[in-house]
Amino acid sequence: MVREVVVVVTNLLAINATNSTPFFKAFFVLLITVNSILMSAVAGTLPVDSVDILYHRFDGGGMEIDGPFILVRKSIGTQVSVNGHYYIDSVSAASIDVVANASEYTEERTEVSAGVDFLHEKTMISTGYTNSEENDFVANSVFLSIGQDFFGDLTKLTMGYARGWDEVGKIESDFSEDVDRQIYKLGVSQVLTKNALMGLDIETISDEGYLNNPYRSYRYFDPADSTKFLTSVEVYPETRTSTAVAVRGLYYLPYRASIKGEYRYFSDSWGIDAHTYEVLYVHPFGRQWTLEGRVRHYSQSSADFYSDIFTHEGANDFLARDKELSTLTGMTYGGGVTYEIGQGVIPHVNKLKLTLLVDYLKYEYDDFRDVTAGGGLLPAGTEPLYEFDAWVTRASITFEY
């Protein structure tokens, strides 16, 4: 088997050198081949039949977003499981971007999906379709993934490919632009000891098309008065490719509790580098109650074409002032409680799970200034740096049947 894999690698490297095939695509083809080689030593199981009803709420930075998220899974026979979800974001927006560029608004985003998991012998193949719509944006995507366990079921390998098509519009105008997206995923989880396991995930995403937010603008010094600024429509590159690599470790402590550590590195063709660290501690009390606490730290550098204020109009080929592209740091402190009722208490329900998760988020920006500070009268470029905090609440009830 190793010899076959080496031959495939050699062939792919030759293809890469002669035809300029992107290496990651070649890598993906290789893994599909390896996957088929390993077909004979796999294990898997269908997802549990369940109904998951979530209420979510985000409140902070001038944004209030809430709504339901319903996920249903149902098996058909022993080999097929179907699933679907329905998700709504009801948005009331008065964030700094909105206040600085437009009027406050409310809108609703609706997302629906349908998917199938197919278990063949011991290999899981999953596919699905998702549609997301709001009054000025439509997104459609499809995905295919293959997962299998091998090596005595200590190793799980998952590969996925997704394709997305977005339509970017602008309310009260005929503006319409397209974005095409391709996503490649690879995941491996490995049991290390009887108390420890780890996971490795790699994901590459490439976008092509209109990648701006059509409502946002960049600012530049007013040539007539350098204490003031003027604005103009942002100009983004029409392509973006990003790669994220994440390593996770999960350890069962000497008493009944677990601790999870996670690190993710991100880099993209716009010059953004980001690091994410997260630690999660989970502590059950008896059979029914589980408490958890987590801390997450996120930091990123700015995009090459980002600036809080440009020297003059059209200063560069690309110009952006989206705060998501600036140098920023984010902290999350979260806690949660889960209560479970087991089989026999409710007819036809194997397990009922109630979960409440509350997170406090704080974002601080190193080069994005609050233009609304001081009533908007401060000299351009001297405004205080922006920051905001938010509460995220998730309350869910899950039935397994």
């Binding site: 088997m1 190793v2 894999v5 690698v9 290496f23 890598f27 893994l31 390896v34 294990a43 199981t45 998951d52 998220f69 979800h85 997962g147 366990d149 090596f151 005595g152 079921d153 200590l154 190793t155 799980k156 998952t158 995923k185 995941g187 491996v188 490995q190 049991v191 000891t193 009887k194 396991l197 996971g199 995930d201 994901e203 990003s242 790669t243 994220a244 690599v245 996770r248 999960l250 069962y252 009944r256 677990s258 999870k260 996670e262 991100f266 880099s267 716009w270 953004i272 980001a274 989970v282 996120y298 990123q300 998501e324 984010g330 979960t355 998760l357 988020l361 995220v392 998730r394 869910s396």
Partner: protein, 76 residues
């Protein structure tokens, strides 16, 4: 840099896979009680877990490799 990283991961995956023929699984099925505990799942919260990734993606430049699947005992 990115290509080197991918080549490194490729070689690592080959080492892991080549181990199938020589090295035996070192955690026996009867030793997986702790791994089977629900607290050892890499994604315990389903829809709620998906939602928080969405919250971060909308406010940060980074995206992808949020993970989710995996964990547990490999008992199935």
């Amino acid at each position: 840099m990115k290509t080197h990283l991918i080549i490194g991961l490729l070689l690592l995956s080959l080492v892991v896979m080549s181990g199938c023929s020589g090295i035996k699984p070192w955690v026996k099925p009867y030793e997986r009680n702790n791994l089977a505990d629900p607290i050892m799942s890499l994604d315990r919260h389903g829809a709620a877990g998906s939602y928080i990734h969405h919250v971060y993606q909308a406010r940060e430049g980074a995206r992808g490799a949020e993970g989710g699947a995996g964990g547990g005992c490999g008992c199935n």
